[in-house]
Amino acid sequence: MAGLATAFGSGAMTNTIDDIEKTEVIFVIGSNTTENHPVIGYRIKQAVKKGAKLIVADPRYIELCDYADVHLQIKPGTNVALLNAMAHVIIKEGLADEEFIRERTENYAALRVTARDYTPEYAAEITGVPAEDIVRAARLYGAAEAAMIFYTMGITQHTTGTDNVLAVANLALLTGNVGKPGSGVNPLRGQNNVQGACDMGALPDVFTGYQPVTDESVRAKFAKAWGVELSGKVGLTVTDMFTAAGAKKIRAMYIVGENPYLSDPDSAHVRQCMDTLDFLVVQDIFMTETAQYADVVLPAVTWAEKEGTFVNTERRVQKVNQALRPRGNAKADWQIFVELANKLDFDWNYTCAEDIFKEITALTPSYAGITYDRLGANGIQWPCPGADHPGTPILHVGKFSKGFGHFSAVEHQDSAELPDADYPFILTTGRILHHYHTGTMTRRSKPLRFVQDEEFMQINPLDAKALGVTECDIVKVSSRRGSVKTRLKITDSVPPGVVFMTFHFKETAANLLTNPQTCPTAKIPELKACAVNIEKI
């Protein structure tokens, strides 16, 4: 997110899902779309069958590779080298959109200098992808009238996550693939309302609509509307919060609907930090692993028992409507917050979700024109600045949110943890189609549980043979931080030297293994690559 905001002025998906039907070339990098964003995966496959070209960059052989014109099977953590080399080819072969660069971007010279060294041959050494495939991908992407890039955590969950995003943005700027139908840089959001949580200012540095807490006039506006005094000091990110808790700088924590004990890297450390807290409140629908550590647990309702809005990955604000009465004594999260606020002597008088939404739109320019009535059955894509504004399917048309699109020179850096003699494999993590996140919901669904209810770590047949293990065997996987036992699935969808685990199953919590080292800018941990050892047991 941080990267895209630097380049374009907004971290959100620039284009819409419908644009997949209008594009010539689709470049999917670090996104196992058919498993993680299934209906977008359907659209990509449909587009390919109708003639669109597909480039897939992924360390694994994912389903989309069956449809791809080029599969760039990069070593985990080598995205920048690949992307810079594609830029190199595009510039060298005159495929750059000079007019777009001249009129709408800045700092192009910096990219030219950096890209010069990233010949396809040089990148081939780093990425493990044949030079001619890099050239082929660059030509496909560079020559298209309109091309779309999709990425997810495979790009961001690296210590170089922000650089990866900047390198992606460079490619789009270089070829003029921003601000028109069928183009753009499109980060796919993992969870149903990640986009909304960001839009609503559940972030340490911004209020709603990305209005900075450091901006005095913004702060004055919110302070007046809320009738309180506000701090201008940027807060801590999730990863820093736990460290601060461990250092007794954070004393009380309130966790809503998340299970960091399973979802955060190096969970043993997270657990220690949570133990150190004086006071922990967890609000959730289930007794999660995290909730076990709480001093107070508050029962919330599911999405079916309340009203409100979610924002999907293409910035579409959509209604959630109440279908059921709250179960037991559980309450909607917003009701809990209202009751607690009043106990904290704030005078909050919301009687329904719509009351809250009206306050949001009054304080948030990009939501100003949205009302529950207008959302109807199809929702509205922000920015929607006025009551008669139809919403914005494509960002940065004619002008970037920040004025000019900004090129950034980024260099390849090794992952924070490379395989060595003690830990010879790279573990990469992700999700599978029939489960979701830490499994709290999907593992309580009877049909979904049936499909798969335990981890099957993916390992290449060559590695399996060398280790003397067979399908479904149980092995011990260890990293510098911990170890878990898991069953195996032998498949050449992972290359030799790489293994893949999900983080859906608490019995085999992959995040006991992962590296909490974060990208210094975006503070996103390196969940996509850590070194592990595998032992037969």
Partner: protein, 350 residues
Amino acid sequence: MSKVNITINGQALQVDAGMTILEAAQAAGIDIPTFCHDPELTRAGACRICVVEVAGARNLPASCTTPVAEGMVIETESERVQKARRSILELIWADHPHDCLTCEKTGSCKLQDYSYRYNVKESPYKGEARDIPLDDTNPFFFRDLNKCILCGKCIRKCHEINGAGAIDFMYRGFGTKVTTAFDDPIEESSCVFCGMCVDICPVGALIPKQGLQQGRSWEVDKVLTTCPYCGCGCTFYLHVRNDKIVGVTPNFDGPMKGHLCAKGRFGWDFVDSPDRLQTPLIKKDGEFVEASWEEALDLIAAKLKEVRAQYGADAIAGLSSARITNEENYLFQKLLRSLGTNNVDHCARL
């Protein structure tokens, strides 16, 4: 787009050239029956229930595959058309189980609706009844191929929309059926249980297992909402009866065109999991004990005030959630910030 002039049931219309008769009729609010047609799938023209009468044409063309032409005069419910539709229905009933009393599809079955519309009670043809064993092996849906009318929509949905390509026509003639590569149960195929075939089957051949015997289609409330899982934001209707979810139908008119995956389509039963937290809990001597909301919230308020007084507001931190609504995220950050700290984040980074 160029226009052509046509007449449907005496009504003069100007429609886009290139439309089919079916599309032109639908645009004019005229309902023509269909079994094998689906607007986003390739046109099969297989079932012929959609035939219409076109002045000057010898045969009755299938409206779903026949384009409009200048000056066309069309009748959608003429005597001849109705007779043709009746004989198609009678042919289907020759080997279709008379099971409407307990069939889950009753009320949303096209065969039933059209039989009612054209007053077809039974078949003059004495067909041999099919006797295909029920595929009951997966927890998502039943496949009762004895009820299949071979419209082929499930196959096209699976191939053209999902891409899984799990099913196809197999065998010929009377033995024709829709099945998996080796006629295996569906769970052994490449099926990913998206359920999209289930939701377009016009009859009771594909039936979701959730919500069996829990309500006829006219007895359930349908509440439009947005999927609680991934960021695609598919919308669908929750079917609700007696305060229970009994099913889901896609929102075919929504931005995601009614496409779903197994999580959104079938994964909602966690809502009534016995593990749901029902009441606030306070930990006393290492054990959770049930508490009233009053007690729990008083305790939280007191502790937060205490920590703030002793260590300052920045000793408090809140983690919001990418699962809860916008309104809730908004209030949560407002709460933390009103307390005097910007220590608020969520797990989007993870």
